[in-house]
């Protein structure tokens, strides 16, 4: 018996399409890489600074700008809590309205519109607009984070509500319950546990975001960090980053505990 040839079947069966795609990918990569303009002189100079920065993690300086760091962190935290609470409170009606199985069509369209608007733009872009409206300071930050929270929570809430077991809602409706009673007894128990988990998760995200929107003047630790980088005070920058990481890790641990207790 003569040996039969065998080779693994390719991912894309059509050879022309396969080669065409590979060629296009290669051409794009080439074009993309060649579009990077690098000033190697500047990079070489910067590497020393990079090394200095990495080294500064070994001896972060919490002390000399502790006043600024402390103020920034407290501001970030207060922005985070306020924005998360306000955002969730506003997200609940929007989420209810964006659930196809509960809301009438015009309300549905309106709420979906709000969600899409909130999710499309980066927090920092929204922050620019709010700073222009409210002036510099944490209020613009709170508005930004709350706005982003609405889109995030409302979208997931709406999806959860659309996925609930209709039989349970029907059973509650069959008892003669009013619409709010249906919400409380038929819908809420089904979506609550995940909502609490998501809220804690969003709290976490809001804190991380609060650390950057300060760059455009919306309050929080970001402004302090930006200043530290501008002045090449790497020891202080390292200290701030370590504080951020510690808080994020702490809140992540907390949210995992909360989510586990709920299940």
């Amino acid at each position: 018996m003569s040996a039969r040839a065998w080779s693994p079947p390719p991912l894309i069966a059509n050879p022309w399409l396969r080669r065409g795609l590979a060629l296009a990918a290669a051409a794009y990569l080439l074009a993309a890489v060649s579009s990077i303009e690098v000033n190697w002189e500047r990079v070489r100079e910067g590497l020393d600074r990079g090394a200095a920065f990495v080294a500064s993690f070994a001896r972060p300086d919490f002390v000399s700008r502790w006043g600024d760091i402390h103020e920034g962190i407290v501001e970030s935290l207060s922005m985070t809590f306020a924005a998360t609470a306000i955002g969730i409170a506003l997200a609940l009606p929007v989420g209810l309205g964006a659930a196809r199985n509960l809301a009438p069509a015009p309300v549905y369209a309106l709420c979906r519109g709000v969600i899409a608007l909130s999710r499309t733009f980066q927090e920092i872009i929204v922050a620019i607009l709010f700073v222009a409206m409210f002036g510099f300071g944490p209020l613009a930050g709170v508005a930004t984070l709350a706005f982003a929270t609405i889109g995030f929570i409302a979208k997931l809430l709406a999806e959860d509500i659309e996925d609930i077991d209709p039989a349970q809602v029907e059973a509650i409706r069959a008892t003669g319950a009013t619409w709010p009673q249906i919400l409380v007894y038929g819908v809420a128990p089904q979506v609550m546990p995940r909502m609490v988990g998501l809220s804690v998760y969003r709290l976490d995200i809001n804190f991380r975001e609060s650390a950057v929107i300060g760059i455009v003047g919306a309050g929080g630790i970001g402004a302090t960090l930006n200043t530290a980088f501008d002045r090449y005070e790497f020891d202080t920058a390292a200290a701030i980053i370590l504080v951020i990481i510690a808080i994020v890790m702490g809140s992540e641990y907390l949210s995992s505990v909360v989510r586990r207790r709920l299940q």
Binding site: V43, L47, A82, Q122, I125, A211
Partner: protein, 266 residues
Amino acid sequence: MTAVPVWRKRNRREALTVWLGWIAGILLFAWSWKAVSDATMWVFVADAHIQAADMLSRMVPPRWSYMERLWRPLWDTLNIATLGTLLGLAIAVPVAFLAARNTTPSRAFARPLALLIIVSSRSINSLIWAMLLVTVLGPGMLAGIVAIALRSIGFIGKLLYEAIEEIDPTQVEAIQATGASRLQVLTHAIAPQVMPALAGISVYRWDINIRESTVLGLVGAGGIGLQLMASVNVLAWPQVTMIFIAILATVVASEWLSAKVRHAII
């Protein structure tokens, strides 16, 4: 007379815990709001609606002709996102294999290290990475690419290592039983199982990276954000609107593309 049976949803202690939780939450909110309010100039806020109306009137109509100067920054933005995702992917994949319980070579050393890399990468927003890299590498695309890559490591690494931990262990056993080496088990039993997840995660992250790279320019790391910052600084609102429209179109297009690709994979 018999006592009326009492039924409560929660027993006394649970009820107390719930109430204390609510009270703590409300106090926390009150404190936060006070802190925010103390740092706010309410005089400025009072005429926010005037500011907003003013801004809006300046923003429309957008300066359409400005678009011709946005093509190059948009191309840069796309490249930052794509190259950053690829670079991040190249680092995240080995990190994920070191972090997954069932593939790590050492639970005492490699796994905690890999998890530390993932956590630090996830904790820090790509804009902070960009700020840092701009001081190190100088302003430009390179800083943006590396910033995107550094942020992507944690995201891809976390989702991928969770996918690796969820693979079917009997398929791995079957390949081990043929006398395959550790690396062969990796390529023949584990890789085929996590490939779809990896592809989905990468495309998803690429989509996020497109959004993020639109703003990296705010700190000097290349892309369309540079134009945005420049326009905001000189209060050229019609240009800002044009940039918003360009960003919106790019984000919608990338979301559509990534949804298409993910759909094709699954």
